[in-house]
Amino acid sequence: MNRKLTKSASQALLLDEALKFLMEAPEAELDQFLAETGEDLSDLNARSKGAFDAAFKRYGEHKRAAVKRSVAPVVQRLQSIATSLPTGRDELLNMAHELALRILNAGRPLSMQHRELTNLTDEDLRQAVAEMLALAEAAGDKKQE
């Protein structure tokens, strides 16, 4: 193997030595160094704040994406249930009533969050029934355990 030292290896060494100055130098010396290089030191406060704000925003998006990935199987299951539900509104309301009784009889809490099923749109009603069906199935599974 050709182990001839490259220019980059010595540059890496010089970088490490220069970075010791960065890590340890008093603020005034660092400021003077940067000023001598003609670097733009204007508005450091606003610029650094902007960097942090942007990072927090990206991190927030990262976290939301992670949560979305983790609940994706549940969402998929509910969507699958919703597609297999009856289409008639009266049928859905009857089904919701039966499911609510099943869930409560299984000793599981059920909150309609102050919503009246009869006031829900068709789409929201289908969604609510799908969620109740999933809850009832889970309650049934738990009871069997």
Partner: protein
């Protein structure tokens, strides 16, 4: 700009104390509220970019700082609390990201490789640097000879830098100690030379200026 983060996080070893994501978030918020620390980090980013000329043409210091923050917050870089404080972690991450991206840009910019002139190298994320890879000689005479050649080359680099300063210049004496390559930190050098902080750092700044110029241009003007 999109950063290429090909550098791997240094693995934890027994005894390392890893920060939780909540601790990391809390520290990031603390630094966010500390204007002085925030500004120092941005200055550090400016400094690091100044040493990575290809990346500097494509990236603002705020971008590098942002990228380091995201790498740490998202867990791509772990915080071993026993080794470094949070600000030190961000500095190391900026250095690591800048180095790996600079190397990537260098590869893309190099259209022709001259046989025998280049060696594929791995830029490491910590302060050990590429030189440490050459420390493991393996023991064969051929490798030992090449290690001697490497040491001579490094000594040559420091000799050139030393020659930039007058014989009695404190800056020159600092370079002499660096050339010993015993891992001296600035405080070690200052104690050995027995000078005041003010005098020392003024000279160290001049040395750093020359190091940066040499690294960038390969020579001293």
């Amino acid at each position: 700009m999109q950063f290429e983060d090909v550098d791997e996080d240094e693995p934890a070893v027994p005894g390392d104390v890893l920060a939780t994501s909540q601790e990391i978030e809390a520290q990031a918020r603390c630094v966010y509220l500390d204007e002085e620390k925030r500004s120092r980090l941005l200055k550090s980013s400016i400094f690091i970019l100044g040493m990575n000329t290809r990346l500097k043409r494509r990236c603002q210091p705020e971008d590098l700082l942002q990228e380091a923050l995201v790498a740490v917050l998202s867990g791509r870089r772990t915080w071993k609390k026993n080794r470094v404080d949070f600000v030190g972690l961000l500095l190391g991450t900026m250095k690591s990201l800048a180095s790996s991206h600079e190397a990537s840009l260098k590869t893309k910019d190099s259209h022709v490789l001259v046989e025998g002139d280049f060696l594929t190298e791995l830029e490491q994320g910590d302060a050990a640097g590429v030189v440490e890879n050459f420390g493991d000689s393996g023991g064969s005479p051929e490798v030992a000879m090449l290690d001697d050649e490497h040491d001579a080359q490094i000594a040559g680099v420091f000799a050139i830098i030393r020659a930039k300063f007058d014989q009695d210049d404190l800056a020159g004496r600092i370079v002499e100690m660096m050339a010993e390559r015993k891992g001296y930190m600035p405080i070690d050098i200052r104690k050995a030379l027995g000078v005041s902080e003010r005098e020392f750092w003024s000279a160290y700044r001049r040395v750093t200026r020359v190091l940066v110029d040499f690294r960038e241009k390969g020579a001293i003007e």
